[in-house]
C-alpha cells in the first residue's frame, strides 16, 4: 500500500471514530475529497482557489471573486465564485450515480447512469455566464438579508454535457409540462435528510433551449466538487441557483416548480416596484427569470496610478441574461459624457462578451472609470442601485474603478 493511501485510510478510520459514525464509501472517495464532511477550514486548498478570492461564509461555503480576478475570457476554476445553500454531499459514488427524469408531466419516469447519458446523447460545449441572483446585494439600502456579495459572484466557464432537451425528447414529456425542477444530493444545513437545501428550476421553454445542459465537464475537466460533481444542470443567463449542482433527479412539472427556494422571497422580486424597505406580500412576488444587463471592468485592477499622457487600456466583460449586449460604453466624468468601447460578439449565445477601450485623461487627478452596457432590447445599466427588493437581487448598477493620474 502506498504511504499516502495508508495515511488516507487510517485518517478515515480516525475520522469515523471522531464523528462517531462510519464514512460510507470512504475508500472510494475521489483523491481530493478527504475531510469535506468536516468543512475543512482551508477552502483555498480544498477548492484550489486563487488566494485573492473572498470567503463570505464557511458554512455553507459562499466565496466570491473580485473584478480583476475575472479578467480571463473563460473563467478558470480557481476564480469561480462558489455559492452553496447547503452542505456539499458527503458521499459521491460516480459509478452508481443516476439521473432520474420524473414528475407529473413525464410520459414514464426513467433513469440514466452517467455512462448512459454520455453514450446515448450527443455532447455539446458552451461558454455560459452564471451570475448569482444576489450578486451586488451589499449595495442595497436598507440592507437586504443574505450573503453580502459585492461584484464577484459571476463567472463564464466552458461547460460540456448533453442537452436537457435531447434527454427530455428521449424520455417523452406531456403537453401540460410547464416547468422543470431539479433535485440534488446536497445536505440541508440542519442535517435533516427530509429537507432539500435548494430545489429550483426553469420554465419548460428555458429547459428546451439548445444551451441548457446536463453538464459533466467544466473547463475541459470533471466538474470540481464545489461546482456540482458529477452532474450539474446549467441554464446560462438565469440566476445561477437555477443551475443545480450534484443533481440526481429532474422533475417535469405541470405547474411552477415548488421546491425549496422557489417560494417566499427566495430568488423572487416584487411584481411591481416598491419603496426601499417596504414590506411585500408573498403573493406580490414573482420568480426571477433572465438576469439583467451588466458588465465588469476586469483590467486594470481598481487603484492604478500612472502618469499624465499615458493612454490607459481597459478591458472587461458584459452580459445580459437571455439577451445579447448591443453596446458598451465608459465614462470618466461620472456619466456626463460616455464613450463607446470595442465590443466583441459572444463565443456563443449566453456567453459574456469582451470589451476594451483606450482612454486618455485631460489632466492629473482622481478619476473613476464607469462602465455601462446596453442590451439588445435597449436597456442599459443604471448608475444608481436599481429598485430595492426584500432579498437584494438584481443589482446591475454600473461597475466602476478608481484611478489616479499624476
Amino acid at each position: 500500500m502506498k504511504r499516502r493511501q495508508f495515511v488516507k485510510k487510517s485518517m478515515m478510520g480516525s475520522l469515523a471514530s471522531v464523528l462517531g459514525m462510519n464514512i460510507v464509501y470512504g475508500s472510494s472517495m475521489p483523491e481530493n475529497y478527504t475531510l469535506l464532511g468536516l468543512q475543512d477550514p482551508d477552502p483555498f486548498k480544498m477548492f484550489e482557489l486563487d488566494s485573492s478570492m473572498l470567503v463570505l461564509n464557511n458554512r455553507p461555503w459562499n466565496i466570491e471573486a473580485q473584478a480583476h480576478l475575472l479578467d480571463d475570457k473563460v473563467t478558470p476554476n480557481s476564480r469561480m465564485f462558489i455559492r452553496n445553500n447547503g452542505l456539499i454531499p458527503k458521499e459521491i459514488d460516480e459509478k452508481n450515480w443516476t439521473l432520474t427524469i420524473d414528475g407529473e408531466s413525464v410520459k414514464e419516469a426513467r433513469s440514466f447512469t452517467l455512462e448512459e447519458l454520455k453514450s446515448n446523447f450527443k455532447t455539446h460545449s458552451y461558454q455560459l455566464t452564471l451570475e448569482c441572483g444576489g450578486n451586488g446585494r451589499s449595495e442595497f439600502d436598507p440592507p437586504a438579508k443574505g450573503n453580502q456579495w459585492t461584484v464577484g459572484a459571476v463567472h463564464c466557464a466552458k461547460w460540456t454535457g448533453v442537452r436537457l432537451k435531447d434527454v427530455l425528447n428521449e424520455v417523452g414529456i406531456l403537453e401540460d409540462a410547464v416547468y422543470i425542477g431539479y433535485h440534488a444530493r446536497d445536505v440541508h444545513l440542519s442535517g435533516d435528510s427530509s429537507k432539500e437545501p435548494i430545489s429550483r428550476g426553469v420554465p419548460i421553454a428555458k429547459a428546451l433551449q439548445d444551451e441548457t445542459l446536463i453538464a459533466f465537464e467544466m473547463n475541459d475537466g470533471p466538474i470540481p466538487l464545489a461546482h456540482g460533481f458529477p452532474l450539474r444542470l446549467v441554464a446560462g443567463g438565469w440566476p445561477a441557483s437555477a443551475s443545480g449542482k450534484w443533481i440526481d433527479r429532474i422533475s417535469i412539472r405541470n405547474k411552477e416548480h415548488d421546491g425549496s427556494k422557489m417560494q417566499g422571497s427566495s430568488y423572487r422580486v416584487p411584481k411591481n416596484p416598491v419603496a426601499p424597505g417596504e414590506k411585500v406580500d408573498e403573493k406580490d412576488m414573482e420568480v426571477i427569470e433572465s438576469m439583467p444587463v451588466k458588465s465588469l471592468i476586469t483590467n486594470p485592477k481598481s487603484g492604478a496610478v500612472f502618469e499624465l499622457g499615458r493612454t490607459l487600456d481597459i478591458r472587461g466583460h458584459a452580459w445580459a441574461g437571455e439577451q445579447a449586449v448591443a453596446k458598451m460604453e465608459y465614462s470618466i466624468d461620472f456619466g456626463s459624457t460616455w464613450s463607446e468601447c470595442n465590443l466583441e460578439r459572444p463565443a456563443n449565445r449566453l456567453a459574456w462578451q469582451h470589451f476594451r477601450a483606450s482612454i486618455e485623461f485631460p489632466e492629473t487627478g482622481y478619476y473613476e472609470i464607469w462602465a455601462r452596457a446596453t442590451d439588445s432590447n435597449g436597456k442599459s445599466q443604471p448608475m444608481l442601485v436599481p429598485g430595492w427588493n426584500p432579498k437584494g437581487y438584481l443589482n446591475n448598477a454600473c461597475h466602476r474603478i478608481a484611478v489616479k493620474v499624476t
Partner: protein, 134 residues
C-alpha cells in the same frame, strides 16, 4: 504525528459545538490556546461576533447550522431580525428560541443594526498601486 494533532483539534472543535452554554463561558478563564471562546479586541475570535451581552446565547443558537459569518455580514432592524428567525424556523429547522429570542434579537439589533448607504456609496478601501510601465 501531525495528523494526530490535527485530529485532536478537529475533535476538540467538534465537541465544543455541543457544550452547554455555561460550560463554554467558564472556559474563558482557561489557557488561551485551549480557550475556544477567547475574546480579543472585543471580538469573539472563533466566530468573529462582537463581545456583548447575549454573545454566548447567539453562539449557541445561531452557529449550529450556519457559520457566524452569515450573521456578521448582515445588518437588520428588530423587525427584520425577527422575520429572519421566523423564516429559519419555518424552513431551516431552527428550534423555538423561547426567552432567548429577546436576548438574541437585542444583541443583534445593538451590534448589527442597518447602515445607511444611500443609492450609491463612495468607492472604499482603494489599494493604490503603480501601473506597470507600458
Amino acid at each position: 504525528m501531525g495528523f494526530a494533532i490535527v485530529l485532536f483539534l478537529i475533535a476538540g472543535f467538534w465537541l465544543i459545538r455541543f457544550l452547554p452554554e455555561e460550560t463554554a463561558s467558564n472556559e474563558k478563564k482557561t489557557d488561551l490556546n485551549e480557550d475556544p471562546n477567547r475574546i480579543e479586541n472585543g471580538i469573539h475570535v472563533r466566530t468573529g461576533l462582537v463581545d456583548d451581552e447575549g454573545l454566548m446565547t447567539v453562539v449557541a443558537n445561531c452557529t449550529a447550522c450556519h457559520s457566524a459569518q452569515l450573521v456578521t455580514q448582515n445588518r437588520m432592524n428588530e423587525e427584520r431580525w425577527n422575520a429572519t428567525i421566523r423564516w429559519m424556523q419555518e424552513t431551516q429547522n431552527l428550534w423555538d428560541l423561547g426567552d432567548n429570542q429577546e436576548i438574541i434579537v437585542n444583541y443583534l439589533v445593538k451590534n448589527y443594526p442597518p447602515i445607511e448607504k444611500g443609492r450609491r456609496e463612495n468607492l472604499k478601501n482603494i489599494e493604490w498601486y503603480d501601473l506597470d510601465p507600458e
